[in-house]
Symmetry: D2
Subunit: 332 residues, 4 copies
């Protein structure tokens, strides 16, 4: 069986990470092409893969005969157009979240996919492939703690990127839970509200941390803490409270150190060590599906639309005093 | 130095527990009198203490020459009148929370105490004496994690008592956090909102679990989960998120068991094992203060009024669609 | 019921700690007398207790009419003579471990106690009163993990005292396990061997850490690590491996801190915070027994003899190449 | 770059697991041939891989032009002969531990490899590729806790296979630590002793659990507990005690469950879930080395010889009353 030849658009942190993962850790994949608006950067990343080509023309990559399938990891604003181009070319695509910055653009992508007659867009909500989340979902589905009533999510990072806005905390960080919670509970998010904590003094003018309340169709309530400038490390928590007990992600640290009057485990500085395995398993699942010519088990373009619709409702609440806002998912 | 002679009003679970603690574990205290509306129950509890008298007349106990100081652990509805009686008799009193079911009654008690010219009412918010909460508060005050921005509290029990109401979850369980959070953060609660999770099917007609949002004057936000029918055990959690890190209560279990494919620690069936040490330390601190004729280090009657005012605001929110409600503390 | 009037011999760290515990935390006890070879130190410690007397004459304290019962916390070399004096005076005594530096002296004390016709010597193996050890023992006795096959004990401290010897690691630190393991397993130690790890460079000429193997009569094997200069903190571990599972002491820390890329719990600098509760509960149990005129539930003088016999066997092994040595407990 | 074509000898649990891992999870590998003494079993395992052939003739597999490199996962007694055959054929080989049941046979394999002029035998001590062990080793090497003085290893399983012997506990289970400890400490094992715990009643006539003491050339002491019938689950522990602190493997569980009065994490029933990632990373490292024509980073045939020499010394001690035995590694 010949390898799936993958072209990766975007050679920033995320794209370079995908190139490396596909090249070194994914069975049955071959990176053949790397595109970036900065051609030197594309070339640098491609250089790590024997035989891979580099370009600053993403559309050329998508059209290239050396490319069977496309990974989109470029700037958020480019996702929709590139996804449409890949669909038009009939090539399966794994697009990083978000599918598009607005639900309107998401709808356009979905309509293009529908016209193509095949479900060939996969969305990079990698938490679905994290082994911890996977065990939590399986235990919940098995009825280990009864029906879910309440969920607590926490997303913390060391520091936010320059120019970060209140909205980005929603669209760039909390959006993961907009996908994960419905996937865990098997119930869509119907209404939301946004609440400011006391803002950290680390970044002037940013309302960070934030707390969101999400209501799912089953009546369960979810609290989400997003704290981009938590300082101490990158950490993700999730606990589902059911009728007979709770299920929570364990501390993923592998080493316990006793030193200097403390027992400790470490936190990574960013999301990459925490979710390295999730990215690998996600890309493997995607490549396997491409190789077998079937829809992938990843999140779909529609999942991406839904998550963006939740984000839009949260931002309405943020701008309107924290009132409860119903989630509107456009018909497609 | 002669022992402080204590009369205990109320011989239910809480009162019997206080009698036992004072008799067996508190230095410098002697239980001399036990009162209960059910005289047989009073006699049974008193029988465990050599020489202790029993009565069904709480006022007689308060007036008795064998009683230097009074513990009130009878029904909530009796707290205010008994506290007033003890103050009138010039005897220091340790009153279980709540000081009174309404803020109006709390105010009457405070006015009586003011007229007495001495601060002789202490309130039983025992979490202030739990060693874990104490370490958390000290670490926070030391600046270990910077200014507090966000707090997460969780209160879970095995099952609610028969006849439990939505309001009782607030006045009987969450009220602990209405005292603890301002004490930890050194900032009063200014506004609140109430939110229902999906209700457990364990009890018909009860909205349990509940989530509260509390805003303190410093701008920090607190989430409180109260789940009376959590089923799995009695558990209290508290985490304060600061600018540079977080502080949280550790699992208080003392034994780790490896058996039957699991590593586990146990949960108690109710609050008594969890807070046995807190009750002991609270009563010891109270007895020490009585013996030395000085105000105690326990929560005050005013703290009790403030906590009741927060509870009233939460109940207004509960009955009004979860809107944000400002806390009004009556002037005294 | 009048308080038990206690005289404390020894006003060093341990004695001062006992005075404070008896005075502040033990119900039904009163410290009336403090003795120390350094009279100023005795006076300083006594000054914290209203009405307590101070002396440099331990025998005067034992004889004093103000003293109902005696705590011995002076230098190890004085324990035997003072215990004999207290027994001769007919006063119950709580003697810190060891009962005496040699088994020969232990035997003399036991013979004196036998002549007195009453079991009035208690020995300060306080781990028996640590709530964690207590839960472990109860779970083991309940058959939670089946018959015990193997036990792992670890005793670590920050640094050893000046002049510390290889032998002191046995008689001062590991000796706790010589009492605790038979008490947990209900089986006496029959043979032992001593093994050096690579010595720490922290102290020249000291063989630290050490590993001991202990065999109990039931066939179970126990490993003991003693590391006086572990540096990072004071820590005690104990795990019993049974036929169907294991039981172990949990981390006793009360606070979890997330900061500086780590999740951590703290270690104390010495044994006092770790075993404060055990000392309190031990002294309370002793005072209760004295007040009721019955033998205490503490370790006995015979338990002290047995532990010293084990220590002697370990030291024989240490000096003889780590060979297996049978424990010889003198007949009394 | 074309994939490395791998032939796998042995289609039992271990071999089938390797076939699956190579096929599904290793980048750049292709399983082309499966051999087993039971041809039906070989065929069944091969059927999961499109195009893979099956045979009952291991030598035919080794000689086949479709095979670039060989994995040996057949019965221990066949390892040496098959490794020699692969070396003779000039094909890189990844042989499961042990290299051979006796050091004498190990020596023969090493001599054959030396004659071949290339280091082409790799040995399957997969713990070297477990991320937890890897972090522990890196932290130790970085000096995080100072020089290692003492190591504690624990290997526990649910139940031993039928016919299991005292010796198998050494050669099949503890042997992992004979490789891991020198690899962690960078110091070879020089002497050993064997000690029986009280035997479990689960299996008649088996001395299980066992405790080993290992001395490394640096003077450090290692304790190893091997308990094949621990009952409660499969668990591996490792703690290295250094001059300034300790390093230990964390609990690898991913899910925490609160239910039925307990907080718990799960244990697997056997080694496969625990070391799935280690096997994947080991095979990936091996395939990468084969593809690049360089020696692998896996354990070598010499490492296998050394581990077998330690095992032989332990068995001498077992049969000779637990005396200390020097490890003799044959010259090659």
């Amino acid at each position: 069986m010949s390898a799936v030849r993958v072209g990766v658009v975007g050679a920033g942190n995320m794209g370079a990470d995908h190139v490396n993962t596909l090249h070194r850790w994914v069975s049955g994949a071959e990176v053949t092409y790397v595109a970036d608006i900065d051609k030197a950067r594309a070339a640098e990343v491609a250089a790590a893969v024997p035989g891979a080509l580099a370009t600053d023309d993403a559309l050329a990559l998508i059209a290239a005969p050396e490319v069977d399938a496309v990974v989109i990891a470029s700037h958020d604003s480019t996702h929709a157009d590139l996804a449409v181009a890949a669909v038009s070319a009939g090539k399966p695509v794994m697009c990083e979240k978000p599918l598009a910055p607005t639900t309107a653009e998401c709808v356009q992508v979905l309509e293009e996919e529908r016209r193509s007659g095949a479900r060939i867009i996969s969305l990079g909500f990698m938490r679905r492939f994290d082994p911890g989340y996977g065990e939590l979902r399986a235990a919940l589905a098995s009825g280990a703690v009864g029906a879910p009533l309440l969920t607590h999510c926490v997303n913390r990072g060391v520091s936010s990127a320059p120019g970060c806005t209140d909205e980005f905390s929603v669209t760039g960080s909390s959006i993961h839970d907009f996908d994960t919670v419905p996937w865990l509970l098997d119930s869509r998010i119907t209404e939301v509200s946004w609440h400011a904590a006391r803002p950290t003094s680390a970044v002037t003018g940013l309302r960070d941390p934030q707390v969101l309340l999400l209501r799912t169709a089953d009546g369960a309530l979810t609290t989400v803490e997003s704290f981009l400038n938590a300082g101490y490390g990158y950490e993700v928590r999730c606990e589902v409270v059911g009728e007979r007990g709770t299920l929570a992600l364990a501390d993923p640290a592998r080493l316990v150190t006793d030193a200097a009057r403390a027992r400790s485990t470490g936190y990574p500085a960013d999301w990459r060590p925490r979710f390295a395995d999730a990215y690998r398993l996600e890309l493997q699942a995607w490549v396997d599906a491409v190789a077998q010519g079937r829809p992938s088990t990843l999140a779909t373009a529609y999942d991406g639309l839904v998550a963006s619709a939740v984000a839009e409702a949260v931002i309405v609440s943020m701008r309107d005093g924290g009132r409860t806002v119903a989630v509107q998912v456009p018909e497609v």
